[in-house]
Amino acid sequence: MAETTISTAAARRSFFGRFNLEVRGHMPMGQQMLVVAAGIMLGLLISAMLLVVSGVKPSGLVNEFVVAIFTSRRNVAAVLSYAAPLTVVGLAAALAFKARFWNIGLEGQVILGAIGATLVANHDFGPPALRLVIMALAAMAAGILWIGLPLFLKIKLQVNEIISTLLMNYIAFNLLLHLLYGPWKDPQSAFPNSKLFDDVERLMPIGWQNLNLALPIAVLLVLMAAWLLGMSRYGFLLNFVHANARMARALGIRIVGLTLLFALASGALAGFGGFIISTGIESRLTQSFFVGYGFSGILIAFLARNNPFAVAFFAILVAVLMVAGQSLQVFYQIPFAMVQLIQAIIVICVAASEFFIHYRLRMVE
């Protein structure tokens, strides 16, 4: 029987007819990690071939991805400064996915977070000493606001959140353009940017290269997420909502409450990510500051299987891609879209490799 493709007609002729597809009961954790690692390696290999086809010499690959990044402090710092917001957004995705809420609207929430923070900065709201804290809170509130509507529609009316959160991205983007081309445009700039933040409105440096507070905050958030998911009672209950929602309901777990908690936390984190990017990297609101974060956050959470520590790991991997992508752009004229493509390729390979975790092919006579 052609279990790989289910077809019986094909079975008679094809090579697949020789195999049986079986559901695997369980694969030890170590083996699972090996399979995933193999998937990542395959993705990297395909990506490397793609880059070579696009005109990068193999020696150039080694240079840009390994030598340049790990031998230069500046590049290590650049990787870490990208990794911080990527981690935060990845955690946001992981919290929502764990609650089975497909928050595809991370990008919109990041944008709103940055808008919230900039709103506070533009109006110099609150004492300077607390300005950053207020900006962060405003960013989180804006992120919550932006996930709130799809969340409400999902819980009250069962409106599919994948599409509603996605539509909210486009609405957020148009809102951003409206602000940047209209009321918030910096008159001193030829570009659609908001005016630069004051010094008190930027994250303080931590004294190594150009790194700022974003990095330790991201580490702290990883630990907090690990506690919430791995040690707290909420995380314990959420595991059941994730693994078997019917059972959770039958046992009387308050699914709606947990979903609310984790989805709102997801929106808040994404908004906070917008705060980190605008105050820590760009120091102003621009029309493309957010590009790639929302999308990478989703992929990072998927690769990490919603595990906070793995989120940090994959965030660093994606950050390496982003930094290397920038220099490929400069030296080889490779469009930056390549970075997005490579991430997608890696995820496809990992997703495909998971087949071997769940199923086993067996030869039959």
């Binding site: 029987m1 052609a2 279990e3 790989t4 493709t5 289910i6 077809s7 019986t8 007609a9 094909a10 049986n20 597809l21 079986e22 559901v23 696009s54 497909w102 595809i104 509507l149 529609l153 009316l157 069962q158 409106v159 599919n160 994948i162 599409i163 509603s164 996605l166 539509l167 909210m168 486009y170 609405i171 148009n174 809102l175 353009l177 409206h178 081309y181 209209g182 999308f295 989703i298 992929l299 998927f302 469009p335 879209a337 390549m338 970075v339 997005q340 493509l341 490579i342 991430q343 997608a344 390729i345 995820v347 496809i348 997703a351 495909a352 998971e354 087949f355 769940h358 199923y359």
Partner: protein, 310 residues
């Protein structure tokens, strides 16, 4: 009056991409495959069509054919993931969108296709009919694809409802175990539905670049793929209501440039939000109306494994 004629005359052009994409999605989903990658197939179709127009001297219809083929090719990757390897259909659909975004931007940039205008598909002229006042412009001055879209709808509706293939396809989406037991090759039917459906979605994307904007811009599908997904839910997986929904969105999109033309001073970017806001409203309306689940294929999104045992 002029305003109305101008407006309505533009509706079909804006409605066709929604209509074709929704129809393609219906074919996939009737076979039980949740296809969230519509945005990606539209991008691939749009870029392929624009690329052909810019680099080869062929008829725009040939470019549209390439749009469909390109999307069909990409859909094989999706089919491999969700049908053969049984990867989660939500993740697979999303990653296809990301993949297509990266791929189209990469190819178009490296080939220098971005932001270059070309002469695309032109409107037909039916002589006297086309010069009828009002009606002539609205009904008889459209491009060939507008009329073909209606034909495609009629064909798909017929195939789904009154042929063996259509019935088997619906059975695969409703109850793959039953279809399998009846000897229907579930995997091949699903693969076929995905490829054909995605070709239609690619055609929708190709129409955007080849017939509507006559230019390629990165990310030019602008969320229409997602709106098409919402349209399918709104239409309860039925083609004709989906066409009606597509016309509704065509009306809204055609209205946006008109409003500026008649000097209505609304903030530009808020006007541009309109299709997304309306889509949200339509989704709310759909879920508020009675028996909202009706029409959804019962096995939508579920991979099929014959030798599952527990």
């Amino acid at each position: 009056m002029d305003f109305v004629v101008n407006w309505l005359a533009n509706v079909p052009g804006f409605a066709v991409p929604f209509a074709l994409a929704a129809l393609g999605l219906i074919i996939c989903e009737k076979a039980g495959v949740l296809n969230l990658g519509a945005e990606g197939y539209m991008l691939v179709g749009a870029m392929a069509g624009a690329g052909v127009m810019l680099s080869l001297d062929v008829h725009p219809l040939a470019a549209l054919a390439v749009s469909a083929l390109a999307a069909g090719l990409l859909s094989l990757l999706f089919a491999l993931l969700v049908i053969a390897l049984r990867v989660n259909q939500v993740i697979s659909g999303l990653v296809i969108v990301f993949f297509a975004q990266g791929l189209t931007a990469l190819i178009a940039t490296s080939q220098g296709w971005t932001n270059r205008a070309f002469s695309g598909l032109q409107d037909l002229n039916f002589g006297v009919l086309s010069s009828l006042p009002g009606v002539g412009r609205i009904v008889f001055q459209q491009d060939l694809m507008v009329y073909l879209t209606i034909v495609i709808f009629a064909v798909v509706v017929h195939v789904l409802r009154a042929t063996h293939v259509g019935m088997r396809l619906r059975a695969v989406g409703e109850n793959p175990e039953a279809a399998d037991a009846a000897g229907v090759p579930v995997g091949w039917y699903r693969t076929g539905a995905v490829v054909v459906g995605c070709m239609l979605i690619g055609l929708a994307g190709g129409y955007l670049s080849v017939a509507v904007s006559k230019i390629w811009v990165d990310g030019m599908s602008g969320g229409r793929g997602w709106i098409a997904i919402a349209l399918v839910i709104f239409a309860r997986w039925q083609p004709w209501p989906a066409l009606a929904g597509a016309v509704l969105f065509g009306c809204i999109e055609a209205l946006i440039p008109r409003m500026a033309a008649i000097g209505l001073q609304l903030p530009q970017y808020f006007v541009l939000m309109l299709p997304y806001v309306v889509t949200l409203a339509v989704m709310v309306w759909t879920s508020l109306s009675a028996n909202r689940r009706s029409g959804q294929p019962a096995a939508l999104g579920q991979p099929f494994v014959r030798e599952e045992r527990r």
